[in-house]
């Protein structure tokens, strides 16, 4: 991103979501990893995106189902 015109940076940024989500094949994962190891600006972007994903994971839905709801559902099964 900061290295404008660098095809390796462009390619890495295009794959960043898939890399964060571990959706690339082994070869592509290794390719992106190698670039990130050599490119601090891209590595920072990756870390940031991973942190946003983690934030959504940990703080996005902290609620648990009310106990009464769980009991009601299981009671329904037994009565059905």
């Amino acid at each position: 991103m900061t290295d404008k015109g660098c095809s390796s940076c462009d390619q890495t940024m295009e794959r960043l979501h898939s890399y964060v989500d571990r959706e690339l094949n082994d070869f592509e994962m290794a390719e992106v990893r190698k670039h990130l190891d050599d490119c601090p600006p891209c590595e920072q972007h990756f870390e940031f995106n991973l942190q946003v994903k983690r934030l959504v994971h940990t703080k996005g839905c902290p609620e648990k189902a009310p106990r009464a709801l769980v009991e009601k559902i299981l009671a329904n099964f037994r009565q059905a």
Partner: protein, 211 residues
């Protein structure tokens, strides 16, 4: 790496997850070894948090989860043991949500392309290179800001982000649950996350986390 978040198996290994059970194909009856009740009980929290973000109202979320579980009970013979039960439940809940909230779901909901890495660009502008602006600000964002940012996403984007980022489903599983191509999952995630970053930045400003 966050092991809790990224503890999914490697991409290649999920190929074997037979999501065929969610298709229209007739499935064999549940075998005695599969404890349906226990499997539902294990997933009620996940169904509920998803329902809560989608309906935005506790009472409606409870109702949606209850109906989802009832349907799962009625159609349990269609579930194929050994396949992904959580994905099967989420598909039922997703379809139920769409039919109940058809108007809301079908209203225009495309997101404009915003700046890529919005939050990062905005946070990175005024800080010294030695600092880690992301960690500082993200750590300060609370449950309320993150919840609002998610709930602000149009339903089609919201459900995609929730399934992948909160529940940890793969693109393929998410596509199967939502009944859309994998490419659609990817583009909705991309746009959804852009919007999410934009909102998080706005809420961070409102709450004084950033100036």
């Amino acid at each position: 790496m966050d092991t809790m978040l990224l503890d999914r198996v490697a991409p290649g290994a999920v190929e074997g997850l037979a999501l065929a059970a969610m298709s229209q194909q007739p499935a064999p009856a549940a075998t005695p070894e599969f404890d349906f009740e226990a499997a539902v009980a294990e997933n009620i929290d996940a169904l509920y948090r998803g329902a809560l973000r989608m309906t935005r109202k506790p009472e409606e979320a409870e109702d949606l989860v209850q109906e989802t579980c009832l349907r799962a009970y009625r159609f349990q013979h269609q579930f194929q043991p050994g396949t992904n039960f959580k994905a099967w439940l989420f598909k039922i809940q997703t379809n139920l949500f769409r039919s109940r909230y058809r108007k809301q779901y079908n209203s225009p909901q495309s997101l404009d392309d915003t700046e890529e890495f919005y939050l990062y660009q905005h946070l990175g502008a005024d800080v010294q290179p030695a600092e880690d602006p992301a960690a500082n600000v993200l750590d300060k964002l609370g449950v309320e800001e993150v919840r609002k940012a998610i709930e602000d996403l149009p339903p089609a984007y919201r459900e995609t982000v929730l399934l992948t980022d909160v529940e940890g489903f793969s693109y393929k599983e998410t596509a199967e649950i939502l009944g859309v191509p994998v490419g659609t999952v990817m583009s909705r995630l991309h746009r959804g996350r852009q919007r999410l970053q934009q909102r998080l930045y706005e809420y961070a400003k409102e709450s004084g986390v950033v100036e």
